[in-house]
Symmetry: C2
Subunit: 300 residues, 2 copies
DNA sequence: CCATGTGGATACCGAATACGTATTAATAGC
DNA sequence: GCTATTAATACGTATTCGGTATCCACATGG
């Protein structure tokens, strides 16, 4: 069966006349006869009752007419949807995220992006760095948000933001902190690191920074994730250094002190396939870059 | 666009490889290339991203794939529906009805028929005889139920049932009636006829019967329809002779006396187009004939 | 660096299919 | 019976399709 036959069929059904249908379709009458016949043969269904003054649909023809119209309409819709998708107006974006960027930055970026592209559906997947990279390779996600990605073939890691850091202390830790004496807290309280896995990671970064600053803290605990770490802080196990976005939220039993000295040390990256030419992904990346510029001086 | 192109497109999308898709479709690889290219040109959409190790869908291709699958599936559904309709298993029947046959006979017949043909949808239209005939000619209905149709070109009137008749008297009309003395009521109470229009009609039939029986009643009223007539009876204006099926229902203020002498005088007919070869109609007519035989002795 | 392999595109040819013109067949109305 | 209308058929031509062979691009491995 071919669409040509359906087009002819619908035309004849509408005109109830082979010749008039042929005129409407700008062909001669015999092709109509032949294509309809072919369609009937292939379906093993008689679609028209031919009479001397026209042709009318059989009940089978009436039933099939609905489907034929549906099919032709679906073709039109499909073409339009394909074109809209090509222009990047509709479609889906699968987004992987992990860790603290999802606390503030990702919602901000995606809210902006969604507003600019209402036809796009965004799906979010909480995936570890490793899972993100696998999902990228199999095409399950288009982009990942996180930190400290390893380089890999065909995957492009783009550093999109430098976040500041904050000291996170037990609420009842009374010492006054300023940007000159923040190192000294670690002589009084041990350090809690996170996360425990997926190296290189934020924990390595913190240790590197402290080493650079000449601090050699006692490590009380390496927590699985930031929530576990914050709970350790809350119960007084130690202190943490966290990305600023964490301070935007309310956490029981902890207080934050933003560190001007570390206002630019916490990288946030995106990762995507170099070979992915999807306009949706490109739009999102472009939107992220725009966001970067417009909020370069905004405290995160 | 042709369905061939959609079939090729779906195959390539599934295999993510032109050559493998060709194998699956039992054709060589070049035709795939050409048809896909044609499809892309016609849609002005790039459907695949060709790489050195296969081809993958663009986002536009992904969007269109859904539609292409829908279309091909709809084709399959359409063929099946067409075949089922040809076998008379599915479809619609538009039925015109008028007057008293709809009180009992029509529901009985249609209940039976619907039970035998659950896939058929039955639509009922209350139409006068004239309206039924017009609707038959324009194809709006397939069959009409009623009485006293006029013959007309291409319309076939089939007499399917002879109903008995009953005398309908005011509830407080105390005279004892039996089948020997029923004529005599019209010397005590006038006759009410119905309907007023659409001749020849039931009123003409009643007058003919009474004339045959040698009765010359006073006609008190010619009511538009049976309900109006029954109300006249209830308020005591006169008496009626009605088809037996009317007696099956409860009517305020009237009583019925079935007349054995007129147990076969009230014809019920169907009307349909001679040239209508729809299997649904044929099935219904067949079902009616069957109903006729099986209930030949059943009191209606 | 070249050899090799894979996947898709192109060129060309023969076959299948579609269309157009002319004609025929069937039927209804006069 | 004649005519008009409508669908079907016959046949020649044009288009389209698919097959074979080949080419091109690119990645991989020595």
């Amino acid at each position: 069966m071919e669409l040509r036959q359906l087009r002819y069929f619908v035309a004849v059904a509408e005109e109830r006349n082979f010749g008039l249908a042929a005129q409407k379709l700008n062909v001669s009458q015999p092709p109509i006869t032949r294509q309809i016949k072919k369609l009937e043969d292939e379906m093993s269904v008689v679609l028209f009752k031919r009479t001397s003054k026209g042709s009318e649909l059989t009940s089978a023809g009436q039933a099939f007419l609905e489907d034929a119209r549906k099919i032709l309409n679906q073709v039109k819709i499909g073409v339009e949807r394909g074109q809209a998708a090509q222009r990047g107006e509709i479609g889906t974006l699968e987004i992987g995220y992990f860790g603290t960027p999802s606390y503030l930055l990702l919602p901000k970026i995606l809210k902006l992006f969604k507003g600019e592209n209402p036809g796009l559906e965004l799906y979010l997947h909480r995936l570890s760095k490793k899972e993100q990279m696998d999902a990228l390779k199999t095409g399950q996600i288009h982009i990942g948000f996180g930190r400290y990605y390893n380089q890999e073939h065909d995957l492009c890691v783009e550093h999109i933001f430098n976040e500041g850091m904050a000291l996170c202390l037990p609420a009842d830790f009374s010492m006054e902190i300023d940007n000159s004496n923040w190192h000294s807290v670690f002589s009084q309280i041990p350090l809690i690191l996170f996360p425990a896995s997926g190296r290189p990671n934020f924990a390595d970064e913190i240790l590197a920074i402290l080493k650079r600053e000449g601090v050699d803290p006692e490590v009380a605990n390496v927590s699985e994730d930031i929530r576990a770490g914050l709970m350790q802080v809350a119960i007084g196990t130690g202190a943490m250094i966290v990305p600023n976005s964490v301070t935007e939220m309310r956490w029981f039993g902890v207080r934050f002190v933003k560190l001007a000295a570390l206002s630019d040390d916490c990288p946030i990256s995106i990762i995507y396939r170099k070979s992915d030419t999807s306009p949706h992904l490109r739009k999102l990346i472009h939107s992220i870059q725009h966001f970067q510029e417009s909020s370069a001086k905004i405290e995160i």
